[in-house]
């Protein structure tokens, strides 16, 4: 069969497939909708086009023919095998089942991340509490003074922060905290070392500030401030750190896979955790800006709400989605 005969014989099929694909992909002049396109017809035409492409390649038909078939099959392949990830049901499923389950499946990494974040926090907090001058090796004296001012009871009783400032801080926290969480995750690519560093560094930094403020007697304003949003913020940072550790571990100990396969698999498994982390950080930033910093709320109320938040978060990760099939 000559190329021109081949083209004449199958031309009409290619045109039909091409126009169906244009409708599905929403391109072309007519702007018809993709509704009512028969999936079975597209699939059947696609399989035939694949056979014809294989023939055209094997017979070394001219480039324009092979190209046309390659383009058709590539487009159809994209349409037929496209993965649909979104939709309300999918998001609900993710929140109620997939996310807590994914976290439980990574329990070892979560535990390691908790240790990496909290050990430096506690140790540095105690050290700085004993020797407050050490705060100066973490931050400059101006910054330390600004912490003093920020958390001094006087500042809050006058109520320096107004609604507009709350909004400003909301934006600032989102940018800063989500950045930290993403760094903890991405650091996993360096065999987990980056994650370990960022977790320990951020732990030590917050430990130093907590120890310093406690020693200065500012604990009564500092702890009510952080205790509520930390339920979401610390958990989110721990979870993204856990995902980073998982990635790092897949590189160091890929098992029976190649390192690259292990890495791709670990990243795919982590994606669901990342969705959850982003959502939790948004919640944390909202609480941090509008609830934690509200000076008119009694510390007792803040502690009570914080306890509820912590219980809710921990219960969510340990219990939620266990029964669903």
């Amino acid at each position: 069969m000559t190329p021109l005969q081949f083209e004449a014989l199958y031309q009409s099929e290619w045109q039909e497939l091409g126009s169906l694909l244009d409708r599905v992909l929403g391109r072309g002049v007519t702007r018809e909708s993709g509704e009512g396109v028969s999936g079975a017809r597209v699939a059947a035409l696609y399989r035939r086009a694949c056979e014809q492409l294989a023939l055209a390649r094997a017979r070394a038909y001219p480039a324009y023919l092979v190209d046309r078939l390659e383009r058709l099959t590539a487009d159809a392949h994209q349409v037929i095998y496209r993965q649909h990830e979104f939709g309300f049901a999918r998001i609900q499923m993710m929140l109620t089942v997939d996310f807590p389950r994914a976290v439980r499946a990574q329990a070892r990494y979560v535990a390691a991340a908790v240790a990496l974040l909290m050990l430096p926090t506690v140790v540095v907090a105690i050290v700085v509490y004993r020797h407050p001058e050490l705060i100066l090796s973490v931050v400059s004296s101006e910054t330390a003074a600004s912490f003093d001012r920020m958390y001094s009871p006087a500042a809050h009783s006058i109520g320096v922060r107004e609604a507009a400032t709350d909004w400003m801080m909301f934006g600032f926290y989102i940018r800063n905290n989500i950045g930290v969480a993403f760094q903890c995750f991405a650091g996993g690519l360096f065999a987990g070392l980056g994650t370990i560093f960022f977790l320990a560094y951020n732990g030590a930094f917050s430990g130093a500030i907590a120890g310093y403020l406690t020693e200065r007697g500012l604990g009564p304003t500092f702890y009510p401030f952080i205790v509520t949003h930390s339920a979401f913020e610390l958990t989110a940072i721990v979870l993204s750190g856990a995902a980073g550790l998982r990635i790092g571990h897949s590189l160091l100990a890929p098992g029976r896979l190649t390192r690259r396969q292990a890495l791709v698999e670990a990243t795919r498994d982590s994606a669901i955790i990342l969705y959850g982390v982003v959502a939790m950080l948004l919640v944390a930033a909202g609480i941090e800006a509008f609830w934690s910093s509200a000076p008119w709320l009694a510390p007792a109320i803040k502690y009570a709400v914080a306890a509820l938040c912590w219980i809710a978060v921990l219960a969510y990760f340990t219990l939620q989605g266990r029964r669903a099939a």
């Binding site: 070394a60 001219p62 099959t73």
Partner: protein, 225 residues
């Protein structure tokens, strides 16, 4: 060139985009983002603290989610990549999934180190498929959209029956020459046609007439009689 096999056993050919094209696309995206940020700054300056917060959030969203949103759109690429006809696909040639797009863009935080996308550049230069670290981990690939192939326009040429038996590979070579003919200078076309002149019984001769007859054989091989 990277190939991906479909379940039907067809090899899709993907052409990974190199550092140059991706850098240019990145710069265009950067300019677009800056333009949005500056425009928003003017608009939000009138709104006080709330405006400032929304501006911060906007910067944050543009920083991390600008590529994600565009990669998940039907075009599969940011405006900058579209200018250079680039697209983000999975390793198997399929449209990028939400999970992969989010992962490859969050992993920018690693690519960016130690400064100015240093690791990304090193990784892209060392790999034949030109992936940055985020691409490796997410299993994605930035590819050139395939260019349109030129059709063969030979209507002015009479088909010529070859004087020797032509193997399929010979026919393919002649047809490929015919397809390239419009892009070659006449002199070069004559030179190349002279190499194949044996097919039309003109071995050892050259010139526009020989060329026309060789192209005629190509036309015959295409199926015109």
């Amino acid at each position: 060139m990277v190939t991906a096999e479909t379940p039907e056993g067809i090899l899709l050919e993907l052409r990974p985009a190199g550092l140059g094209a991706r850098f240019c696309a990145f710069m265009i995206d950067g300019i677009i983002r800056l333009a949005i940020i500056y425009t928003a700054a003017f608009a939000m300056a009138f709104m006080g603290g709330v405006g400032f917060a929304m501006w911060f959030i906007l910067i944050f969203a543009l920083e991390w989610f600008y590529p994600v949103v565009f990669e998940l759109s039907p075009a599969g690429a940011t405006p900058g990549k579209r200018v250079f006809a680039l697209r983000v696909v999975m390793d198997n040639g399929l449209p990028v999934t939400a999970a992969a797009s989010l992962a490859r863009n969050l992993l920018r935080a690693a690519d960016f180190l130690p400064f100015g996308y240093g690791f990304a550049v090193v990784s892209m230069l060392l790999r034949h498929d030109c992936k940055r670290l985020g691409d490796i981990a997410a299993g994605t690939l930035v590819v050139h959209e395939p260019p349109a192939a030129s059709r063969i326009a030979l209507d002015a040429v009479e088909p010529v029956v070859p004087v020797v038996a032509l193997a399929p590979a010979d026919q393919a070579a002649l047809i490929a020459l015919a397809a390239r003919a419009p892009r070659l200078t006449a002199e070069r076309l004559d030179e190349l046609a002279a190499l194949a002149a044996v097919v039309s019984g003109d071995a050892g001769r050259r010139g526009p007439d020989v060329t026309r007859r060789v192209l005629g054989v190509a036309y015959w091989a295409l199926g015109r009689r």
